[in-house]
Symmetry: C2
Subunit: 102 residues, 2 copies
DNA sequence: TCCTTAGATAGATGAACGTCAATATAATTT
DNA sequence: AAATTATATTGACGTTCATCTATCTAAGGA
């Protein structure tokens, strides 16, 4: 499995407010102006955070008029669940397949 | 859901080598001296990383003679999977339950 | 055209993180 | 007891990260 790629995804998620944003997006898309009032940080900080989520492949942006709508990527969720399963199941990188006695 | 707690877990996981260590432990326990040769970093760095994983509740340590054995915590895996499901499913913090139109 | 609103970008600053060399501790072996 | 092996701790240093203020762009409305 691609540890680097999965680590990048996890790092983008590893923040309480980014998790809350993901939770908020789990039933539909929202624009930044809907998200911002739920948090204490500034607008540039939200913009920065959304960029992190986007670069990690977690969300996508679509533009409508002057609003930018953010939505969770479906592949993100399925990739995430699959990576978790691969990680926790016995696999080729698992210790017991490399000659170690556990 | 407890975003802070879940974020702490994800942050501890959000590193390629720590993911690889979790993968190695997914079928049994290992001591540090079994893990270290798989990586390029030094022994103190491994010790530091194991402490991060332990403080996040991901692994537990048991001492046998001069060896410290590390093992994944069962609750970690079940908590992780449950948190993921809670996050991605519609829930009370989801946008559509807070008066936003998506 | 000017003003307002939504959002992004730039640059600065302080905090957190990863790493290593050196050293400490603890168990084992000789 | 002295040497060795396994691991942890300390302290330092450089890097990355989160945040802010200020500014910029783009779209809409007066």
């Amino acid at each position: 499995m691609d540890y680097q790629r999965y680590a990048t995804t996890l790092k983008a998620m590893s923040d309480p407010s980014r998790l809350q944003i993901i939770d908020m997006l789990s039933c539909g898309s929202l624009c930044a102006c809907d998200i911002l009032p739920h948090f204490k940080f500034s607008q540039p900080t939200l913009s920065h955070r959304m960029k992190i989520l986007q670069e990690a492949g977690i969300i996508s942006t679509t533009k409508k008029g002057k609003w930018h709508y953010y939505a969770l990527n479906d592949e993100f969720i399925s990739n995430f669940n699959q990576s978790a399963q691969t990680l926790f199941d016995d696999g080729p990188n698992c210790a017991c397949h490399q000659g170690c006695v556990s």
